[in-house]
């Protein structure tokens, strides 16, 4: 009998596991895949290391900062700032046809860029910052109001509104067309006011730290152990049955598999509420390895968020991939002590899950090649054309995301409607991860921590 069984060895599941194991609970984390990480994975291909998911960590505050999600996370997991070895970004950019805005981890750069590109908006932008600072994650009753409505009240220039939405939606909006004001404020702070950073060794460094810590505390991690069903008796999960037929028992179950996905595991015939859709926003990503550093081609931006029209559209595209907008990330362009070995350019674009899922194996391989080219051609309108220096490539699609995460539709940021308190219809079953609340790496870790604290450590 375990004290807690956790479904999913991604950021949230591992963080929850560390909290519980630290307080001497018997914990088992079950992961269907052959490796840890979920949405934020890493792999080795043809002799090179790749990251999936992570472009950059958000919420990066300098060592010694006591406030904010990163500081809280480090204290809760008993990690030192140096353990994550985060290097700050060099500087990023929002690129639209008629304006560009640069930003880095000092809000003053964005302030001066707004003043340069939108001189009439200087005072309004300060009002926006004040409103974002004022927003309180825990008590604010305006959390669910439309950010578009709120920004419409605060700013006069529609183009500035679109340019601010572009990075914030790309890095964490499960809602189409709009964001909740609460989520907008959290994302604005995490990206523009705190900042972006990356460990030199990438996401694997974070995951390896978490797993090592979990195991050192006596936690058990079972890979290749998908959950086939949760057996329900008297309003509780009584047994967890694995795909292999193995049966486990736990006093509590914490699932990061997603809301709808977890409900379907319960064998009590819980109807999956049709009003709670699992989210539809998914991505394709192209990864190009170069034979030189991006800086040698004149590209020194860490992240470039681009959009080729005045309006930014945030919804699944009718086409296989949305070629109008995307995110270009160069992991080389962080302020490391020494440069990364290979030059890398990654491009992320919105994608249509149904299209990619419907392809047979041969068509899938061909379409990957075709859309790799199309996405890259779209992106090089905004950054130096790097195509002649490419020595290796890889690409993932929404179906890759499903394979690694098990999330319906390959939805990267989960369901638009979150279950903030993590509770379900069963007394001892809770959810954590993207469908509970916060997204991104720091957000997922905080989700695992808070759900473990709230539901599994109070007796």
């Amino acid at each position: 009998m375990y004290d807690a069984i956790i479904i999913g060895a991604g950021m949230s599941g591992l963080a929850a596991g560390i909290r519980l194991a630290h307080y001497d609970q018997r914990v088992c984390i079950l992961e269907r895949h052959t490796t840890i990480g979920g949405l934020n994975g890493f792999y080795r291909l043809r002799g090179r290391d790749y990251d999936v998911g992570l472009h950059a960590l958000t919420n990066i505050t300098p060592k010694g900062t006591r406030k904010g999600p990163l500081a809280r996370l480090l204290r809760q997991l008993r990690l030192s700032w140096d353990d994550l070895a985060i290097s700050p970004q060099i500087g990023s950019e929002i690129a639209f046809p008629s304006a560009r805005l640069r930003f880095n981890n000092d809000l003053d750069l964005l302030r001066s860029e707004v003043a340069r590109a939108f001189p009439g908006e200087v005072d309004n932008f300060e009002r926006l910052i004040a409103a974002v600072v004022e927003y309180d994650d825990l008590t604010d009753e305006h959390a669910a109001i439309s950010a578009r409505v709120r920004l419409g009240e605060l700013l006069d220039e529609p183009l500035l509104v679109e340019m601010l939405f572009c990075p914030l939606m790309f890095y964490g909006s499960a809602r189409e067309h709009d964001m909740d004001w609460g989520q907008f404020s959290i994302m604005f702070r995490s990206i523009f006011m705190e900042g972006l950073g990356r460990p030199y060794a990438g996401v694997r460094l974070i995951l390896k730290h978490l797993v090592r810590k979990f195991r050192a505390l006596g936690g058990e991690l079972k890979l290749r152990s998908g959950v086939s069903r949760l057996e329900v008796e008297n309003g509780k999960v009584s047994r967890v049955v694995l795909d292999s037929g193995e049966v486990l028992e736990g006093r509590r179950v914490l699932s990061s598999a997603g809301w709808c996905e977890t409900m379907r595991m319960c064998n009590d015939g819980t109807p999956v509420d049709a009003s709670r859709s699992p989210g539809r926003l998914s991505f394709c990503e192209t990864i190009a390895t170069l034979d030189r550093q991006p800086k040698q081609l004149g590209h020194d931006r860490t992240i470039t968020f681009y959009n080729d029209q005045e309006e930014f559209v945030w919804t699944p595209p009718a086409e296989p991939c949305d070629l109008r907008s995307g995110v270009i990330c160069s992991p080389n362009n962080f302020d490391y002590d020494e440069p990364l070995g290979d030059g890398v350019m990654r491009i992320t674009a919105l994608a249509n899950f149904d299209y990619w899922r419907g392809l047979d194996e041969r068509a899938y391989e061909l379409e990957k090649l075709r859309w790799y080219d199309a996405i890259t051609a779209s992106a090089v309108r905004f950054v130096p054309d790097y195509r002649q220096w490419v020595v290796d490539t890889d690409m993932f699609t929404p179906t890759t995301i499903v394979r690694f995460t098990g999330h319906d539709n390959g939805a990267v940021y989960g369901a638009p409607e979150k279950q903030i308190d993590g509770r379900t219809h069963l007394d001892n079953l809770f959810i954590c991860g993207t469908d509970q609340g916060f997204v991104g790496i720091i957000g997922s870790i905080v989700s695992g921590i808070s759900m473990a604290n709230m539901h599994c450590l109070r007796d």
Binding site: Y23, D24, K63, G64, R66, K67, A71, R72, L74, R75, Q76, R78, L79, S80, W81, I449, S450, N453, L457
Partner: protein, 83 residues
């Protein structure tokens, strides 16, 4: 445990929770919240570490006593003096 030993133990818990913090300059009469910006999650951790390490049970209504080092030691001393 003497009051000094209890103080050392609480200090050890704080060092565990916040490894990057310089605790040598901690003012025992001032609140932890003010000096270290600890939040409610951190106070819960102090309570749970005391339970884990010493089996001391602190009811939620008594958390206010953990505001500063002085008040924490005063509060814990009757419970821990015979340990």
């Amino acid at each position: 445990m003497t009051k000094d030993e209890i103080r050392a133990e609480v200090l050890d818990i704080l060092a565990d929770i916040a490894p990057d913090e310089d605790l040598s300059s901690l003012d025992d009469s001032k609140s932890f919240r003010e000096q270290m910006e600890l939040d409610s999650m951190d106070f819960l951790d102090i309570v749970m570490e005391l339970r884990k390490r010493h089996r001391v049970q602190i009811p939620e209504d008594d958390y206010v006593n953990l505001a500063s080092m002085d008040s924490t030691v005063e509060y814990l001393h009757p419970m821990m003096k015979d340990m």
